[in-house]
Each structure stands twice: as structure tokens, then as C-alpha cells.
């Protein structure tokens, strides 16, 4: 309901915003000089997910550039979008999820980052270059990614295989939970059935719906929960198997080394959070410097070693925490990424497909 409201309001704000940007930033997407003066050229404003960057890295950048970094946080892509569209806050950089890029581009909130001109752009792994949500990396640089896996506590439960079958198959003894996210849940079912997570085929989606209906009516189905909740339930032992973002689970291993996570053999979903340069950016030059800084192998590794989220940076790979490198689920192979076995969640085609996903999700949640 909340999201519906926000989206409805966005419709209203959009017209206003576009008018503003048209007059403010005509031409090659450069900003008006006024806001730059206002911020003295020494302040960088970033809005990102909470706890998503190593504070030491931020301090290092502040020192190196003699600048101040203002770091604000958001809880969902939708809230961030609404705040930006309202025009109340001027940020330089944001970290939306990949399936949100086109929404933001259409709302004319982004300006080209020209990442190819950055000296460290070459560090990005081939599997993350030229993604279909942003052909040619015009607007985005991949920041961190999250593959979705199945987690368990090996002290209490031993899975018989690394397959989605434990959840979607006929067994009824496993206590499991699914992520509270329509694309992840429907995506998992599609993957199990051998289809694409971005399928718009009605017959395939119907099959996924029937499978999910059976799944959530099983005795073992616990709930739709967010990552941290799943991790906590596994720690407490009230759950056998949980769908989870790999990073959320790995953070818990320090607490209990028995926590394990695998990427199911049938394939799974993955989503990247990206760095984008916002159209109203008061300080695009400093923002580009920051993006380049984050792309340095050492810095990028430090961030992943702090967040435990996936790292798209090849220069960072050897510098990652040995524990992270030892986790198969942390680093899906380039082959699996290229073949689409580990598949990116993309924006759906508007209209019918979106409605179908919505209807399946509502149907499941109502049970």
C-alpha cells in the first residue's frame, strides 16, 4: 500500500521535476554553476544503503581529497526515488539496484557518469561490463552485488543436496523460509523450473505460480522474511533452510561458524547495486573522483571485507579476506554469470508482465 502511494505520487512529481531539470541542466548534462558555489566544491553527498561502506574508506577519501563526505541512507529503492524526485535534496551519488536504473533514467534523474574515462574502470570484471540494464555502462558502475542462495546451520541440519528441490520438491519435513521479495521468490521458482528469472511467458509464469502455491502450503513453510531475520532464525535454530542474500548470511559466520550458504545447482538470481551520478549533482567532478577511488582494487576489497557483499572488481579479488575467497557462494564463477545460470534480475516489461508478477505475489501473500 505504501509503495502504491509513493508510486502514485511519483506520477505527479515527475512532471514538475522534468520541467526543473530542463531549465536547470540543458546541454551535456552539466550542472548549473550555482549549487557548486553553494557547496564550495569540497562536499560530496552520497545516498546509499545503510552500513554499506567501510567508514575507514570514507575517512581515507576525505583526507586524500581534503573534502567532506555526507553519507545519508535509504531503506528501499522506492523511498530513495521519491525523495530525489521531490527535488528537496541534492545528492551527487546514489546506489540504486540494477533493476531500478531504467526507472531512474526515464525520470531523468541520472547524468552520464562517463565511467570509461575513469582510470580504474578497467578493474571491473567482464561479467559485470555492459549489462543489459545499462548498455555501454553509460550511467552506472557496479558497486557491490548480492547473489541469492540457500542458507543452513550445519550444526543442526544437513541438506541432502545443493538443489532448490529441498524447498520446491516433494519433501515436507524441511522448515524453510523465502525472501520477502516478489522477484526473488518468483525468480527462484522460475529457475527451479529451468526458465529465466525475467520470464514474461504466461505459461511459464502459470507453472511457477502453481509450484509456489504448493510450496507455501507445505507444513514446513515458515514465512516470507528479510535477510537479517533469516540469519537470526538460523542462529537460533528455528529454521532449517532459508533463502537469503549471500552477504547477509556471511556476516553471521563470525557469530557461528556452522552457518553455511550455497547457490542452488539449478541456478539462481543476482542483483547489483550500482553507483550513479545524479542529474542535480552539486559536485560532479568530486563525485567522479570518488567513483574512481572506489574502483581501486584496495579500496574495493576493503569495502567488501567490511560488508561481506559480492565484489565485481578483478583488482580487488586477490586482496579479499581469505574467508570470503573460500566461499563458493560469494563468488559465482564468470562462466555461470555469462551463461545466465546465475542470472541478473532485470526490470520487467511494463503492463501485462508486471501485472502478472503482482498477481502471483498477492495470491501467495494472501495465503
Amino acid at each position: 500500500m505504501k509503495r502504491l502511494l509513493i508510486l502514485a505520487l511519483l506520477g505527479l512529481t515527475a512532471c514538475h521535476r522534468i520541467e526543473r531539470t530542463d531549465t536547470a541542466a540543458e546541454g551535456q548534462g552539466a550542472t548549473t554553476p550555482a549549487p557548486v558555489e553553494r557547496n564550495g566544491g569540497r562536499v560530496l553527498r552520497i545516498i546509499m544503503w545503510s552500513d554499506y561502506i567501510d567508514p575507514d574508506v570514507v575517512k581515507q577519501f576525505e583526507k586524500q581529497e581534503d573534502a567532506r563526505v555526507i553519507l545519508d541512507t535509504f531503506e528501499s529503492n522506492e523511498y530513495m526515488l521519491a525523495k530525489l524526485q521531490g527535488g528537496g535534496a541534492s545528492y551527487d551519488l546514489a546506489t540504486p539496484s540494477n533493476y531500478f536504473i531504467q526507472v531512474m533514467a526515464r525520470a531523468r534523474l541520472l547524468q552520464p557518469l562517463e565511467a570509461q574515462k575513469l582510470s580504474n574502470f578497467g578493474n571491473i570484471g567482464a561479467g559485470f561490463l555492459n549489462p543489459n540494464f545499462d548498455p555501454g555502462n553509460v550511467y552506472t558502475v557496479p558497486y557491490q552485488y548480492a547473489a541469492t542462495g540457500l542458507a543452513y546451520n550445519s550444526g543442526r541440519f544437513t541438506p541432502s543436496s545443493e538443489s532448490w528441490k529441498l524447498i520446491f520438491g516433494d519433501t515436507d519435513t524441511v522448515r524453510f523460509s523465502l525472501l520477502d521479495d516478489p522477484r526473488e521468490v518468483i525468480g527462484a521458482a522460475l529457475k527451479y523450473l529451468g526458465y529465466s528469472v525475467n520470464s514474461s511467458d504466461v505459461a511459464q509464469l502459470r507453472e511457477a505460480r502453481d509450484l509456489l502455491r504448493r510450496t507455501v502450503s507445505k507444513r514446513g513453510f515458515e514465512s516470507f522474511s528479510g535477510g537479517p531475520e533469516v540469519r537470526n532464525k538460523l542462529l537460533a535454530g528455528t529454521l532449517d533452510l532459508g533463502q537469503i542474500y549471500v552477504g547477509d548470511l556471511l556476516q553471521g559466520v563470525a557469530e557461528d561458524p556452522n552457518l553455511k550458504v550455497y547457490l542452488p545447482t539449478e541456478g539462481t538470481t543476482i542483483s547489483t547495486d550500482t553507483l550513479v551520478l545524479l542529474r542535480g549533482s552539486p559536485n560532479p567532478a568530486l563525485a567522479r573522483k570518488f567513483v574512481n577511488f572506489v574502483l581501486e582494487g584496495e579500496v574495493s576489497a576493503a569495502i567488501s571485507n567490511y560488508t561481506y557483499y559480492g565484489n565485481p572488481n578483478t583488482a580487488a579479488a586477490p586482496l579479499l579476506d581469505p574467508f570470503l575467497r573460500s566461499q563458493k557462494a560469494f563468488n559465482p564463477s564468470q562462466a555461470d554469470l555469462k551463461s545466465g545460470k546465475v542470472e541478473f534480475i532485470n526490470e520487467l516489461k511494463a503492463g501485462n508482465t508486471t501485472r502478472l508478477y503482482d498477481r502471483i505475489w498477492t495470491d501467495l501473500k494472501a495465503r
Binding site: L5, S50, T73, F74, G88, A89, L235
Partner: protein, 273 residues
Amino acid sequence: MIRRTHPALSAWAWLVYGFLYLPILVLIIFSFNDSKFGATWAGFTTKWYGVLLAREDVREALTNTLLVALSSTLISTVLGTLVGLGLWRYSTRFRLPLTFLLVTPIVIPDVVMGVSLLMFYSLVRGGLELTGWTFENGFWTVMFAHVTFQISYVALTVRSRLAGYDRSLEEAARDLGASSVQSFLRVILPLALPGVLAGALLAFTLSLDDFVVTYFTSGSGFRTLPVLIYTSVKKGVTPDINALSTLLVLFTVVAIVAANAIMRPRAGRGGDS
């Protein structure tokens, strides 16, 4: 003769109180839990309070929260009291529309309020920029946003406090020789005071835990506690936030007890006169 409460009724009451307060109790207990994720009990510790005090962002957010709450409460209490008095005292054809306007901020969803204020501020900024002036969203925009919804609560509590009193009380005071200022200060205001204080407390609490409106009107770099806490929920709440919540609960309890102590004798005197 008052009958004793039926045991089933009191059992029900205990159940309801348990339902309301057990989660808070659990939160307080887990703020002393020596586990980063707080799912299982890993021993007693007070370290999270230390962690909390060392967090600069929390201190800054706390200062912001209190500054906004105090200043917006002050403004909205004065304005809201005047509106409440006006509604009680004058009957004009604007009374119904005015009441309607007062109720609106209470019933419309926070998101609508937040986004519309955000748009309003950008429009104002756009207009000001033409004259060479400009401002950034931050303390002031958040503070005034809070005032906009607080006024309604104060005005309505003040009006309902006065609703039981006869309007001729003021006329009597005037007949006995009180000036309009005197009759306001010595008759009307004392009568309304419990309502004013209740409204102010309500306004303060609302400001203290407002997330949505604050989030949208705060611009960049100005964070209050609810914004800090809510936006970290996605990554799991750390135990130092439990510690913070415990302190807030403690603060609220003290404030309520103090407010009761202040308001009780006044209410008694009001009844006597």
C-alpha cells in the same frame, strides 16, 4: 457500592498489558545481550551502551531529534492553543471548514504529507531563486514540517478540554471588571492548561518518532534518530540500537511521570474553582 472486577476481566487486562509491554521488555533484556545479532542469548554485557555512546552519528542524530522536537513543540503549542481557543470561543461560518482543515493532517497518510511538503519546499525554493535567495532542506524545513501536523493535535486537545466549559465564564469575568488580557490569563488559560500541556506532550512525542515526514523534508546530511534507525533496518538492527531504544523508553517513562506530577494539582484546583 462498587463491585469487584470480574476475574476474567482482570485476566484479560493482564493479557492486553502483557501483549503491549512484553516486546519492550524483550528489547530491554536484549540490549544487554553479548551477541552481535541478538538472536540467541550469549551472556550479559553492558558493552552496547559503550558502543552507542561512542557513535558520533547517533549523538548527532539525537541532538537533531531533540532540537527539532523542542522547537517545533514550542511553536505548535502556541499556535495550536490559539486555534483551539478561537474554535471554542467564536462561532462563525468558517468553523466547520477550519475544523476540517485541522483534522486533515491527522487522517492523511504520512507519505502524502511528506511528499507534498517536499514538493512545496522545492516550489518555494524555485521562487526564491529568482530573487537570488536560496535555502537547503535541513533543520528548518523539518522543524516547520513537524509544526504543520502538530498544530492539529494541540488545537484539538485544547478545544476538547474547553468544550465542557460555559463560554459565559469569560463574560462573567469581564462583568466583574477584568480586562480582556486579565480574563484570558486568569480565567481561560488556567482552564485550558491541562489541554495545552497534553497537546504539547503529544506534539513532542509525535515529533520524536516521526520518520516519513522527516525523511522527505530533511534534505541531505540532516538525520534524526528515527531516520537513522529505520534506514538501518534493512541490514538488521544492531544491539546498540536496542540500547538506544531502552534509553528512550526510560526517558519517556520519566517524562510521563513528571508530567503527571505537574498536571495533577492543577487539574484539582481547576475543579475547585
